[in-house]
């Protein structure tokens, strides 16, 4: 053995478990407002991820146990499950997870070597391949015209079967961001749009509370020093400033900055997705640049792009820039400060 003989008691697994823990409040809020279907999605994604992770480790001749227990596959599964519609068909969940684990993670070298955020690769593949299924979100329970019981939800996910007389439209709806986009396209005034039932006080009905729970989980991660403030702060500030500026100039066509923060994947992205260390820069300045870039791209894609949310593409685009960002933001060494 060699010095240092001491080591802090932390491990990759410990970090991952804390991140998973930080996701629990958001999952609880999800279940409360949208029903328990998301739990099935998460379970299915987790099982797929762990199974494929084990297979890939075996194929790559890596020790299975320590890697499987590091929790990184589980985290990818959870993040993907939370990003897609909660009652998506089972094959869509499996396909997305498989892409994330097999291609985005292991074919690029596995834990620590993958340049792209696996969960976001999974999401991007799904939204390109299955645009219809990917936009059928469950409506919040409080405003849905009818809702399915848990068993029927599972029935829909696995057998694509609805109970007698149930209408898909009755319990699904577009997301608040999507609705905003289509309604603006129809030239409806902002105030009228915002009074639609899918909108709550700040963001989407129900959705805003899930966002708040992500924020709470993120603050826990900050307090535990699992993540540094740079990424969430820069991401949130960029979205806020960009959307705030547009909102001030043209409030009829641009929602308030608070709305942008409380809807879509803004919060999960700020605290859980962009903060993935493997696919992000390591230097403090690099983190700021990376997250502001992602924030700006998110805003641009949301405002001008064709997809319901821009987060996944923003993250992937910024992932490409990471080596460059790192190379140009090397901090000056002790004694060699400029």
């Amino acid at each position: 053995m060699n010095s240092p003989y001491l080591a802090q008691s932390s491990s990759v697994a410990q970090i991952m478990v804390k991140v998973l823990l930080a996701l629990v409040p958001a999952i609880a809020a999800y279940v409360w407002f949208f029903g328990p279907a998301v739990l099935v999605t998460i379970a299915l994604a987790s099982a797929t991820a762990l199974a494929l992770e084990a297979v890939m480790l075996k194929l790559r001749k890596k020790p299975v146990k320590p890697y499987l227990l590091d929790g990184s596959a589980l985290l990818t599964a959870w993040l993907l499950a939370l990003s897609i519609p909660p009652m998506g068909p089972w094959w869509m969940i499996v396909t997305g997870t498989a892409f994330a684990i097999v291609i985005a993670k292991h074919l690029y070298g596995g834990l620590g070597s993958n340049p792209f955020n696996p969960a976001m690769v999974g999401y991007a593949v799904l939204i390109i391949s299955f645009p219809v299924q990917m936009t059928q979100w469950l409506a919040p329970l409080s405003i849905a015209q009818s809702h399915l019981d848990f068993m029927s939800q599972i029935g829909y996910m696995f057998f694509h079967a609805l109970p007698q007389g149930a209408q898909l439209d009755a319990f699904t709806s577009a997301t608040p961001l999507d609705t905003l986009k289509t309604q603006l396209h129809l030239d409806r005034p902002m105030a009228a749009i915002m009074s639609m039932p899918v909108y709550g006080a700040i963001g989407g009905t129900g959705g805003q509370w899930v966002a708040a729970a992500y924020l709470a989980g993120g603050l826990y991660l900050l307090q535990q020093k699992i993540i540094s403030w740079h990424v969430p702060a820069a991401f949130i500030a960029t979205i806020f400033i960009a959307s705030g500026a547009f909102h001030l100039i043209d409030p009829a066509h641009h929602a308030s900055p608070w709305f942008e923060l409380a809807t879509g994947a803004t919060m999960i992205c700020a605290f859980f997705i962009l903060t993935d260390p493997v696919t992000g820069p390591t230097t403090p300045r690099g983190k700021l640049i990376f997250a502001s870039g992602a924030g700006f791209l998110t805003f641009v894609i949301r405002t001008y792009g064709g997809y319901p949310d821009g987060v996944a593409f923003a993250v992937l685009l910024m992932n490409i820039c990471v080596p460059l960002i790192d190379a140009y933001t090397q901090p000056s060494v002790f004694g060699k400060k400029k």
Partner: protein, 484 residues
Amino acid sequence: MRALHHFNGGVHPPEHKCESTLRPIQQPPLPEKLVIPLHQHIGNSAKPLVEAGDTVLKGQMIGKAEGYVSGAIHAPTSGKILSVGHESVPHPSGLKDLCIVLEPDGLESWIDLQPLDPLNMDPSTLRNRLRDAGVVGLGGAVFPSFIKLNPGTGKRIKTLVLNGAECEPYITCDDMLMRERAREIIEGAAVMRHMLHAEEVVIGIEDNKPQAISAMREAAGQSMEVVAVPTIYPGGGAKQLIRVLTGIEVPAGERSTDLGVQCFNVATAASVHRAIRYGEPVLSRIVTVTGNVRNPGNFEALIGTPMDHLIDQTGPLEGSTGAIMGGPMMGFDLPSTAVPVVKATNCIIVKSDALFPKKPQPMPCIRCARCAESCPADLQPQELYWFAKAGNFGKAQEYALFDCIECGCCSYVCPSHIPLVQFYRYAKSEIWAQEREKKAADLARIRHDLRLERIEREKREKAERLAQKSAQAKTAENSQPEQK
């Protein structure tokens, strides 16, 4: 009050210092034999002055400093030289090195000591004395002190920093020295101030040593400033302490003298005092013996004392798994506990699995940058690791590999338990080896060219001689009348 500065990074490992500060410094009995390595300092090995069978007096020089960067070696007690040869020494390689083995006669008969009155003397005389007395940095770096006390012409030293921070866990030898011999340290510091013409002397001690701080304040009086610095590892690194006390950052590869500061360990100050005021060379040092032993403590050990002799005094416990020299952050495994105490031995930690559990299996780097946050040299350890592992040493140097002080903070915090520092040591020694090879190749090239030149010249001279001869022969021939 002095405004303190701050360096980035650092960690707070468990201290384990109180175990070894319960008793005053102890004097171990004379061991049966002393093994005194000739290479105990940075620079050239000392040249042995004695042979097997010689009798020596306590304090007699037995190894002479060779070249400029070197230090003398002395007999720690009187006795008979048993042998001069290769013995096991405390070095991470576990290899043997040239040592003088001395059998003490128990008489402790001293050489004639020649005290000096430093404050009326020329610094260069004092420097020669320190060189002949084998005074080297006792904080662990063992750089010959007389060199650091030569500021060079035209350089002004503003601040002389004394390092009593002792930031590494387990080690308490400086703490105990400051508690018990504060006056010697202060006197030594006064000599150094005189030699450097320093304007001020600042003594930095981490605030986890209140007794040492008050003892030093009392001894220093108004003449020197004793500053309590925040406890953080590696706050006792010379560069870090200089930064905290003066705000100056000394870049790697530059001498702090050029920036107007010089830094010495407190124990070095005490040995300067003894070497000058009493003429006593460095024959012993304070060593902390701690870890898996019954009564951890500090010993004033003669240089060359076998380490198990000291460990025996503390009552070893069951379950020991070898020993470390130095602290748990920067120390190294000893090849055996039979190796001798040397000038660099500040601490001996007896290991056990309970104290130093085996580290979990390393995982891949997840680029979490915890290592970078903890690095006191503001490096990017994860990048260095990547380059060192890939054998891309040029790139590692570009990312300032040689600014790494090998403090171990990065390895300490890494959640993937990657032995980062080991990779840096490996990369550095590979680079040094390449440089040595390059030097040897350059030398061979020059010598080969010289040889070719010489052969060429010899050929030419021979040809000339031949030409001359044949010319002479020709003229002789010509002068003779034609025979035919």
